[in-house]
Symmetry: C2
């Protein structure tokens, strides 16, 4: 069987909260001013109560609301594929499975969390959600959720992406999202920067500041984040929960679970249900794959840092390259983040997740092999996971072992085709961040003692 389907009745009814089982919980986020643990009240200004509760909950299973399940059911359960074509191309004895999260209407796994986030905001009376977006994956997933839930979406999109990547912007607008190039004249943070430089290209940090300010200064408006936070990873666990059922049908259990890792949401989503087993004694390796140009887990430090560049968010305990680290413009825009989810960071620190960094030319080489053997053109982010799945399958071939490998195909690459063009025409280069630059960026972080 090449494609393992589940029926609607197999759709998981609960998300899995790994905070119930982690050997060690991450230390709490700190208020950026007082450097004391942040209170639920601090967060209420920009988040609905239900999401704040999920953020700090240690309850193992959290019910998925019926209205969310109904929308999930329009594109979930997603299929699990056995990558027969890729196995054949590699002549490996390994069995390679991948979960296809690119079949939802926005083309990536992001809708798994945008839909519940829009839902909880709506039932708490919020009329509008403000968010930031870089390349546009998150902004489009949230705009879609807004359309389906009947809640307005305002997206601050980094100006250089707004100008150079019109497809994602148009997608958001098609779903009714209001998109502003950031820095914009809609917020004080934006206006301040525009006064200094009217042609400022924008950064994700500035866009976050604008969205947070918009949410904090409008009573009917909240803020939403597409990765990093605990509740976001919680919503993504539906990926791994479905995988477990599907692999059971196939009569397999993975030796290795692989996901690409930027903020950590798709990796957490596919792996946490398997980490539950690992914590309880089962043998399974979980590998986070990051770009060598933004090697947070492999070369960063595990310490408190701001979640954004501007230093407006709480301090989070995580692997970080320093909040003013500016990764080069690699094509997997979703993996260009200086930090990492505190949950993934803690699990990595405690040896439950391994991390590996790969260069982008090798990633695109793997993406092309995958496209030609499996037929699916992957998003460049997802292709990082493919690269390491291939490496592991070739290792299994050398060792003559019939390993079972599972990776998450977090999205399709239809809107990323220009990066394929860059690769095919030989214009893509690798970039490894110099260790000294990382050291320098880290040396500027404030020391925080709990």
């Amino acid at each position: 069987m090449r494609r393992i389907l589940l029926s609607e009745k197999d759709l998981p009814m609960q998300w899995y909260n790994i905070q119930a089982d982690m050997p060690k919980l991450p230390p709490p986020p700190l208020n950026p001013q007082t450097k004391k643990p942040i209170s639920a009240d601090d967060l209420k200004v920009i988040f609905p109560i239900s999401l704040i509760e999920q953020e700090i909950s240690t309850q193992r299973w959290i019910n998925i609301p019926e209205e969310v399940l109904n929308i999930y059911a329009s594109f979930r359960p997603t299929p699990l594929y056995r990558a027969i074509g890729l196995e054949k191309a590699l002549q490996t004895p390994a069995k390679i499975y991948f979960k296809h999260e690119g079949l939802g209407p926005a083309g990536s796994h992001k809708t798994n969390t945008s839909i519940p986030q829009a839902y909880y905001n709506k039932i708490e009376g919020i009329k509008r959600i403000a968010t930031e977006t870089g390349a546009g994956q998150w902004g489009s997933a949230l705009s879609l959720a807004g359309a389906l839930m009947g809640i307005e979406i305002t997206v601050y999109m980094v100006r250089v992406s707004y100008d150079q990547k019109p497809y994602r912007r148009i997608m958001m607008e098609t779903w009714g999202g209001k998109v502003y190039p950031s820095p914009s004249d809609k917020t004080e943070s934006g206006r301040r920067i525009l006064r200094e430089n009217p042609d400022h290209p924008g950064t994700l940090g500035i866009a976050i500041s604008e969205a947070v300010e918009d949410a904090a200064t409008h009573k009917d408006t909240n803020y939403a984040l597409g990765s990093v936070l605990n509740h976001v990873l919680l919503h993504q666990t539906i990926i791994g929960l479905e995988c477990k059922k599907q692999l059971e049908i196939a009569g397999d259990y993975p030796d290795i679970v692989i996901g690409c890792c930027g903020g950590g949401s798709n990796l957490g989503g596919v792996s946490f249900p398997f980490l539950y087993d690992k914590i309880h004694g089962k043998e399974v390796r979980v590998i986070a794959v990051e770009p060598s140009s933004c090697p947070t887990l492999t070369k960063g430090e595990f310490r408190y840092d701001y979640g954004d560049t501007a230093g407006l968010t709480p301090f989070l305990m995580m692997y970080t390259l320093g909040h003013d680290f500016v990764p080069p413009g690699i094509h997997a825009g979703g993996l260009r983040y200086h930090g990492d989810s505190p949950l993934v960071s803690q699990l990595c620190h405690d040896g439950l997740i391994e991390a590996v960094a790969v260069g982008q030319t090798a990633v695109f080489e793997s993406a092309i092999l995958f496209a030609r053997s499996e037929g699916i053109i992957p998003a460049p982010e997802s292709a990082h996971a493919i690269k390491v799945a291939i490496d592991e399958a070739l290792k299994a071939k050398e060792e003559g072992k019939r390993k079972v490998i599972l990776f998450n195909l977090s999205g399709i690459g239809f809107l990323d085709l220009p990066s394929y063009e860059a690769y095919l025409s030989g214009k893509l280069t690798d970039f490894e961040y110099p260790d000294e630059k990382i050291k320098e960026s880290l040396s500027q972080l404030p020391e925080i003692k709990l």
Copy 2:
């Protein structure tokens, strides 16, 4: 149930050949030189024997080869959706169902025929297939099939699309297709035109000439077409066959089946299995939706005409606006064809299929409503079907009738987002072709007596 899934074992094992049941078969294609019925030998130069046999077969069921079934099974059966969100938005008592053909790896229904076409060519020892493409849907579906079947694909792409729509070209190249802007210097037809005008923007007619010449002058190379011909529509009937099983699960039978119609392949695919019932006495309406700017079925004449602009292909008996009719550059590029499939034309002529023409601003208005209520961004071609499904649902509301409406969502619109931008920014205009222009174009057709 919002999404009706079939399992792999429900995948149809045979295509349905409507030539077995048509009250009247279309008159045969004629050799363009002799104007006598074309022989199988004439066709062998550019088509594999299996496809020629399918073209003229009157056998009702034709087995789908196992290797084709295996690849179909990686993305078929596709889901049938109940459009609950759209019904709610329209407050209609009608039940609206749509078949989602945009989930395959190339984003449209075209892979249903590109895969068997590549297969039959491969088993008959052909090493390479040449084809033409306008906007790129067909070229990409065939490039994908070539990658999966291990057969080389050469695509002659209309130069203006090649230059202005790089996404589809890159997609073909990612799957290993060789893409040349047409007119090219690879063929005598192309070189002749380039000598006169080195900056010629190209037409679909020229691209067809180049692909046919390439196939006819290379022994190991054949030609392939993505619509119009009988065998292409045959392969697409898997759409309607699956729909029938899925509607049975839902306990419904359609009052109306709707498909957009350019060459006719997706309309034939979704409707022929229902036309079988209609021919055998069941009541069901089938509606072909075409753009008002290219009103082949609604304003054309039923007569012999060339399939291409240049006059190189056989004469086909069909509704046509005249082979030198140049429709304006509407955004649904897949519907800009002067003629129509002979099967669809005959069925239309015999009153088994109705036709309606709609303007593109109304089409995009419907597309936006669909995107915001169902979450899926449709291809502009498919949005023509949506527009008429909405019209019929509103009519049912007026009449207070609980009609069952089925339409085919032939593809998604990720690569068509610029046309959404044109609509959202008010730049889209309607165009109705003046009757005199059509009359003039038709008056230049050669008279053919059988």
